[in-house]
Symmetry: C3
Subunit: 153 residues, 3 copies
């Protein structure tokens, strides 16, 4: 195992199998030294762990935990594409869409579930630009969707 | 005509004129070997072909067809910027916003209208990372908006 | 002062202090010759100047002015990361999320508040690809959120 996977193990995180492409798109698209990771939803073993908007269907706490699951799924996708997560030199941008009721304003706190994990795993090179926004509805009823751009060597 | 335009012709697709910039932004912005295409809405000859959210105003089927129109408009924009679509070496990332009622969860299926067209036209190099999300409302009442990043030579 | 800051002064715009990162993400992430600016909300001296959706809580005019504030905050963030705004060679992509009621369709006009400022400041190299979309709710109740990618030397 590499350094990043050792860190994941120390955090008690086991990466799932890399996702298969669901249609004519890819879990990860490499272009130059950028790896574009497709929007990830909070599924574990194929099962959605958080559905519906915040806060009417999910608490902010469970939505934040779901954002972490999305980030873990993004890492699994990157491992599938790159073979070794130690090839990642940094996380560049993270986009977080949070299924939100009209008066919910805590999207940033939920996005921290993804951001914190990425910095725990990659340290300072995991720090990234981020856009966190509310969405009226997400694919398959997901509470959160996370996409990202990494840089690799 | 080049290879890509031959393919489009074989698919029965005629590209519209490249769009003009609507304001202080561009249909396509080139940066390095990336071409960033602005968000495209489903207009044909200036007329919106699908308005309002899914499913209350549009069926998933018509929204998927509208996503294909957006992708065709993106190709027209790229032709305007690059002169020749054969300069495109790949589609990198596609963002699809679907005007959605609060309980609609089929954004991925609608986004396939854009993804499938891009792979029909470009083959494997048309396969891309993708984020598909719901939006409460889109410009001019569009049912779908598609932006993308291509790579070119 | 450099050329860009002279232009800002001539426009009567004083840049605020660069924002601090709010959590494990950065106001600006540099990668290659791209600068990714995190989503900016319309705060002046820490106070939100436009909250809630258009048009029920904010008029299109005040939302457009708020988009300009977001763009100014993005420039402050870029100055913090690059030291000198004259290092910016162009604005590549701008993403504008507008808190919207379900039947509002004027997101493009609001996004012009950001686009127009960027072109006033940078001239033709400030012209960019853009996606403007509606959002059901944004962080801290912001009426608009603007993220962007610049190129720098």
């Amino acid at each position: 195992m590499g350094i990043v996977e050792d860190t994941l193990a120390a955090l008690g995180i086991t990466l799932p199998e890399p996702p298969a492409a669901a249609a004519n798109y890819l879990p990860v698209r490499l272009a130059g030294d950028f790896a574009f990771v497709a929007g990830q939803i909070p599924r574990i073993d194929g099962e959605m762990v958080a559905s519906g908007p915040v806060p009417s269907s999910q608490s902010p706490e469970s939505a934040k935990a779901a954002a972490k699951v999305c980030a873990i799924n993004a890492l699994a996708a990157l491992k599938g594409a790159l073979g070794d997560l130690d090839r990642i030199t940094g996380i560049v941008r993270v986009g977080v869409f949070v299924a939100s009721d009209a008066n919910f304003d805590g999207q940033a706190g939920i996005a921290n579930g993804a951001s914190d994990l990425l910095v725990e795993v990659f340290g300072d090179r995991g720090r990234h630009a981020r856009a966190a926004v509310g969405s009226v509805a997400l694919p398959l009823g997901a509470t959160v969707e996370v996409e990202l751009i990494a840089q690799f060597k």
